[in-house]
Symmetry: D2
């Protein structure tokens, strides 16, 4: 168990009346408890806050007029970073997958899992099923990609990143998700905050459905196992943008910081394993 403090500050200059939907609030779910949080939007605006499942996060929607817009979100989250004593060795058979999990087998905008069937089978059919296979996927993705900020953009898909050989966290997650789905393992994208991320930013990782539950994985190896805070889940990054904006506004700056309040040793190493679970 660990307590994480997150800080998120976003500045816009709105140039014409604009609608925003923000997905920046920490999710409420069995993995994490929001102990305290503060959301300040300046100027003060009517705010709609809607709980979205299955992630349990609150979407914040506002309409802003011309002028500066400032969103500040501070929270303290207690993570139930439960690492199971025995990792699941079961990939739930298709016939037993709950109906609401099925959609996470489908290909999506950035995760064209239908195109990866042969590759995924060739590389991972001989790996033990369950946790070990998804870990294998994470390690493979980690080995095949180089983490290069700016090497990809908002239209980059798993296909592009496999060929290009480089990407950022969302690309690592998209390729991992594509390979999981191609093997029949439901997988979904998770946006969040991460301790130790350098440079500090929002993070993107993924969950795979194993043995009847969703397990968290992060192929980037950029954060410690107990330093990942979930915001929203979706099929891929298209579903969980930190902000969707309709209108006209310039994004002036984003400041993110994520701190492990219980860490004694500031030099604690990051996980070197490919995955984290909670």
């Amino acid at each position: 168990m660990s307590r994480i403090s997150t800080h998120c500050e976003i500045h816009y200059t709105v140039t014409a009346r604009s609608s925003f939907a923000f997905a920046v609030l920490a999710a409420r779910n069995p993995h994490q408890q929001v102990i305290e949080e503060q959301l300040i939007i300046t100027p003060e605006l009517a705010t709609t806050r809607t709980r979205l499942e299955p992630s349990g996060h609150d979407l914040i929607r506002i309409v802003a007029e011309r002028g500066p817009l400032w969103l500040l979100y501070d929270a303290t989250i207690e993570l139930a970073a439960f690492v199971p004593p025995v990792a699941p060795t079961i990939e739930t058979p298709f016939a037993e997958l709950p109906t609401d999990v099925l959609e996470y087998l489908h290909p999506s905008r950035y995760c064209q899992s239908d195109l990866f069937a042969r590759l995924a089978n060739k590389e991972f059919r001989d790996v033990a099923p369950g946790f070990e296979r998804v870990t294998g996927i994470c390690n493979w993705v980690y080995e095949h990609l180089e983490y290069v900020p700016g090497s990809t953009d908002v239209s980059t898909s798993a296909v592009d990143v496999l060929v290009g050989g480089a990407g950022v966290c969302r690309d690592y997650a998209h390729l991992s998700i594509s390979l999981c789905r191609a093997l029949g393992i439901p997988a979904r994208y998770v946006s969040g905050y991460a301790v130790d991320l350098d440079p500090p930013d929002f993070h993107g990782f993924f969950e795979a459905y194993l043995g009847g539950a969703w397990y968290l994985f992060d192929a980037t190896r950029m954060a410690p196992i107990d330093g990942l805070v979930r915001i929203a889940v979706g099929r891929d990054a298209a579903d969980v943008a930190f902000a969707v904006l309709v209108g006209a506004a310039n994004l002036d700056s984003i400041v993110i910081s994520t701190i492990d309040l219980d860490r004694v040793d500031p030099n604690q190493t990051r996980t070197t394993a490919a995955i984290s679970t909670a």
Copy 2:
């Protein structure tokens, strides 16, 4: 109001124990009422039937052993093919879209709406909003594509079909959906049955969210306005395959027939307008 009779018959030879999920049952929703239906699976197998929202259709799941497998589905559906006296002229502003509609603005596997922003704006920004604009999209798609069975395959996306200039019903729907989303109009894929389809087959069309409700459109102009029976809805065809199969089986044949029981004049012409609504 019209009564439609649908007949669906699918034959497989299962070569190894396989799990199936079938999306072939007519949906229950305000647009259509299932008066009677019969589902026969041979051999007799334990069948799981799960109602899926928002379409209101029942997914049928079975596990079949080696040997022949035969699914027969017959139904009579009463369509409330209500054509509103006044077509909606409103595209719901982003700020007022219900939260559960937002996902139908996101790009998906076959509808990369993010890539079509400029094209959609150029072609349709000067068309009156609402029903007229979506009709304009349908007409544009109809004019730009040639209906050529076999010209596309299961991996063909809206981008491919725009360049290739030909496709089948699913491609018409994917391109239309992409253009709607690019303009900020939520749109989703609908699988179904259609009277007069030649050759008879499953059909694919789409719904756009206008003035607070989902309206049905079909850019192919292949069926009469009151001859479309909905099965399932999803982001694109990836979500509503008539059968998902995990295992090993050969699809031997599909027989579909869809008849308008109330049609007096057998020579009644198809709609020449691009769209149908209900």
Copy 3:
């Protein structure tokens, strides 16, 4: 006939021994005569100058050590901007195309003409063959694209630009070339200098093979008919980069200026027709 003065100045900082191949010298061919030219490379380096056909331009190759590298090229070119009294109405039949022209019918990296067959036929089969049809293609490209510096990059192909709806000169040329080839009209990319280009830069246009000769076209409408100076020709932009660099160097600046020495009226309007010919 007109005399054009071109000025080209390129500054690099070489950070490790590097080889360069520059394609910046004006071509020698029946369309244009180089009256005088000056090439200065600083520091003074062994320079290989090789005439390349069919364009008749000289490729400049050097090997540079660490440090600043400066290439200056000034030329005066006399254009035989002959506009034929009768535009060709003939597209040379395939059987009569010279063997060395055949390769300009093949798809290339940025001009996937094989994918455009249906679109090209649909849009242009009813246009009169020859000059009028290629003009029609140029006009179509001009209408479909928006000229937006920065909207595309070095990996953007004709397929991408058709979907994206915007591009720069090279994209206009790539899409035009793809449509020509899809119709059986040989077409090739030409790099060059252009009077009045705003902002001043290298330019990209194309040639189509009609009635036994290569005619120049420019779908961007950005330069006057008698203000285009050819450098190199190739299948697409991949063949005619102004500089190919193997090693490590930073491009610090490019300065281009192109002036019509014989223009009396400085306010002479640009061509509003889509094409230029010489």
Copy 4:
């Protein structure tokens, strides 16, 4: 040295006056000598035969009227299957590449080498340059792809085949060529005949430019080292189609057989190494 007998028989039904360009004749070059050959086209038609460099093959062009068309080509070729005692360890530096070799560094329709730069460097930068590195590329391609007839089609590129994980000979060549070019090694596509190909067909392989000469490689491992007969060379398969047809004709059948006349032991094994050289 070995003597190869090739037989090629192509039947069309021409449905409207059509022009054909056939690239089926064995090339004349230092690697192979055509001892005897016979070309019969039925009906008897005016035939244009043009030698094309650099491959040294003769392109055959005809115009055929409605009716059956039959091309028969038989040849005996003596291969100078010279395997150098010392494999080249040199990749010619960019500055020393002959000007006419430079184009084989450019990306092409099916070999988007610009997109593979990072992948190629990651995988092969630590392999010894020259013959060993290109052999490494062939082995990598052989390991990553599955040879599956029908898995790809005429629009499949190196990017597609890397993701899809399967292909036929042209795809193996395209991916290999892309990786070579991405490393700065000129590479080009070669069409040809191959002993032992199963099923018998035209073959596609490639050449890489090393130490001042073009070396032959074949990543498919489907033919013996001294059983490859060259027809044409080009940037990729787009340049060397066995037939280009403008008009309307149905291809009824192709029959190819290629026999090593000097083979004593009919059970001689195929090369298990990835490459052949001549």
